[in-house]
């Protein structure tokens, strides 16, 4: 690599990581002004622990993210399976358009339309409020399903179809084929899809703001309202905690995936070896 290449990459990566580093560093700042360094302190971390607004927002966010990610990978698996395995069905193009649309439609529109839809349903059935956790869960699930489908479909299209066909020739029912053959081979993609959609849901602010009701304030909505008012050192502390958690999560997940991949490769190699030995013995 030339000098220009190294400089360009160096400056580029610095640009990508500079904001994250300053957030983390200034979370340990003593001053109320989060940009003037006055001394090392953990006061903002204890401030979070005593901030009931933040604590309850974290709980709401985690609940919604868990529910949305789990629903989204079920729907995403079904959708990805439909697209990659059912080559021909009426409305396939419209189906694919429906799956991809949430990826390109701006979130202000997704949020607004879902909200107005819920209001219309509320008016129709008279006064039951649907806004709040339920609405946010549904809103996040539509967006997350799109992302989950992309990730799972990418893996499904790589899976060797001949194994499925062999299983069916041996009398497996379609559900058994799915359960015994397809599910194990896409498990990694399911894990990364779950992690991705979990973080998307945990991070969503725009559509959530439309759909939330008093009592269902999520962490991003709370952070957004504080960030709009100005700089707030507790936000830095929250940021640092998420960065650390995400860092641990991504590292553990990738280590697990690497180990699983290695184990699978080893098992496969052993099976091939046995098969060749058996063939040689004959």
């Amino acid at each position: 690599m030339g000098r220009l290449a190294k400089t360009w990459l160096g400056v580029g990566y610095a640009f990508l990581y500079l904001p994250i580093f300053t957030l983390v560093i200034f979370s340990f700042n003593e001053s109320r002004m989060p940009t003037v360094w006055t001394g090392l302190s953990l006061r903002w971390y204890s401030a979070i622990a005593n901030d009931s607004e933040i604590v309850s927002a974290v709980l709401v966010s985690l609940k919604i993210a868990l529910a949305s990610a789990s629903t989204a990978i079920v729907l995403g698996t079904l959708a990805a399976f439909s697209i990659s395995r059912y080559r021909r069905f009426s409305g396939r193009t419209a189906f694919i358009a429906h799956i991809n649309a949430p990826l390109v439609v701006p979130e202000v529109i997704t949020g607004l339309s879902l909200l107005l839809f819920f209001v219309a349903v509320e008016n129709l059935f008279g006064g039951v409020s649907l806004r709040g956790m339920l609405a946010i869960w549904i809103g996040h699930t539509t967006i997350c399903t799109a992302y989950a489908t992309v990730v799972i479909q990418a893996r499904l299209s790589e899976v060797d179809r001949s194994v499925e066909e062999a299983a069916m020739d041996l009398g497996c029912r379609p559900f058994q084929v799915f359960y015994l053959i397809i599910l194990p081979s896409i498990s990694q993609a399911l894990a990364s899809a779950w992690l991705l959609t979990f973080t998307i849901s945990l991070d969503d602010v725009v559509s959530t703001s439309f759909l939330s009701a008093p009592g269902s304030t999520t962490l991003p909505v709370l952070i957004f309202s504080r960030a709009r008012l100005g700089l707030d050192p507790t936000v830095n502390a929250v940021a640092t905690i998420t960065v650390v958690l995400v860092g641990i999560g991504v590292t553990v997940a990738s280590l697990l995936l690497v180990r699983q991949e290695r184990r699978r490769a080893a098992a496969q190699a052993a099976a091939y070896r046995e098969a060749t030995l058996a063939a040689a013995a004959h």
Binding site: M1, L4, A5, L9, G12, L16, Y17, L18, P19, I20, T22, L23, F26, T35, V36, L75, G76, L78, A79, S82, R85, Y86, R87, F89, F95, H98, V104, V105, P106, V108, L112, S113, L114, L116, F117, N123, G139, T141, T142, T145, T149, V150, A154, M168, P174, A189, S192, L196, T199, L202, D203, V205, P220, I223, F224, A239, T242, V246, G249, V250
Partner: protein, 335 residues
């Protein structure tokens, strides 16, 4: 080859076995004969998305042409004296099309998104190109480092720029301390601070698809160009750039489309003068509580992103097989 056909093969009912197997098995056989498994695999996600994505948009479309009647809306259909009347209230659209402030907001949204795309391309193309020049063992780490910020909160990363660009922010404090400037530069709440945030957020969306196409380019083509007497600079423009066309287009779409509808970045980093259309929609809904107007803005916004999307789809159907590479989240998810 066809799965459903071969699926139903081993299930050919054995005569007599059905009756003996009991009602549950009979039910299963009935469902299988009607291919209910397949129907529900397609149907469940489809119904969910129609119900919670398309239908709500139709509600928006309806409200955008309705007249507000207190907190309710007047029905657009009216039936009296044997005639069905449809009353489409188009005044919102009329207003959007004639009000100079709205027109300017639309123009600026497209403009900011275009500037963002050009800057991302200018920074991202060399970046992706230099990534492919790194040692092969180093490349996965470089890719992971680009996609890693995806995993940390986007809102918090935008907020971080507030602390950096503020009048008394980290950058200004540094500049004053180094005595490069006498008084703090006004960076925050200007179009510049918003552009920095936009480029920062969308740069990875440009880099990843570009890297994806550049790394696949055959280096022998460049060698051949060199053997034929082309200078490296000319070979870059004549060989490398045309080969990465799919990546340039995919990356530009991935930056442009979400930038047009961006709300959080202009709200947190832009000033009161930096108008973006999503911000207008937000204010119409949350501040003016004008639902029909907010809906009309939403409908026109769809039109705004539909134009580049149609071009992109036409290009993609022209290039067979390029479709799998255009999602950055596949790369993000694989990391």
């Amino acid at each position: 080859m066809n799965t459903p056909a071969s699926c139903s093969l081993p299930e050919a009912p054995v005569p007599g076995a059905e009756a003996a197997a009991g009602p549950l098995a009979r039910l299963m056989a009935f469902l299988r004969a009607r291919r209910w498994g397949r129907k529900s695999v397609i149907g469940i996600p489809y119904v969910f998305l129609v119900l919670f994505f398309s239908l709500p948009f139709l509600v928006v479309l309806k409200i955008s042409v309705s007249e507000a009647d207190g907190v309710q809306f007047k029905d657009i259909f009216e039936f009296s004296d044997g005639t069905l009347l449809m009353r489409l209230h188009l005044s919102n659209y009329q207003f959007l099309a004639t009000d100079p402030l709205y027109l300017r907001t639309y123009a600026w949204s497209v403009c900011y998104a275009a500037i963002n795309t050009v800057i991302c391309l200018f920074i991202g193309y060399p970046f992706a190109y230099f990534m492919t020049k790194a040692r092969p063992s180093l490349r996965p780490i470089l890719v992971m480092l680009v996609s890693l910020p995806f995993w940390t909160s986007y809102l918090l990363r935008i907020y971080a720029w507030k602390g950096l660009l503020d009048d008394h922010g980290v950058i200004n404090n540094l500049l004053v301390w180094l005595q490069l400037v006498d008084e703090p530069l006004k960076m925050m709440y200007t179009p510049y601070s918003m552009m920095i945030g936009m480029v920062y957020t969308y740069l990875p969306f440009m880099i990843l698809p570009l890297y994806g196409t550049l790394v696949k380019a055959d280096p022998r083509l460049l060698e051949a160009a060199g053997d034929l007497g082309t200078t490296p600079w000319k070979a870059f423009w004549l060989v490398t750039v045309p080969l990465s066309k799919a990546g340039i287009i995919a990356g530009s779409m991935l930056v442009f489309i979400p930038s047009v509808g961006e709300y959080v970045i202009p709200e947190l980093l832009g000033g009161p003068q930096t108008l973006m259309i999503a911000r207008v929609l937000w204010d119409e809904y949350f501040q003016n509580v004008d639902w029909p107007m907010a809906s009309a803005v939403a409908v026109t916004m769809i039109g705004l992103i539909l134009v580049p999307l149609v071009f992109f789809n036409r290009y993609q159907s022209g290039v067979q097989g390029a479709g799998a590479d255009d999602e950055p989240h596949a790369a993000g998810g694989a990391a």
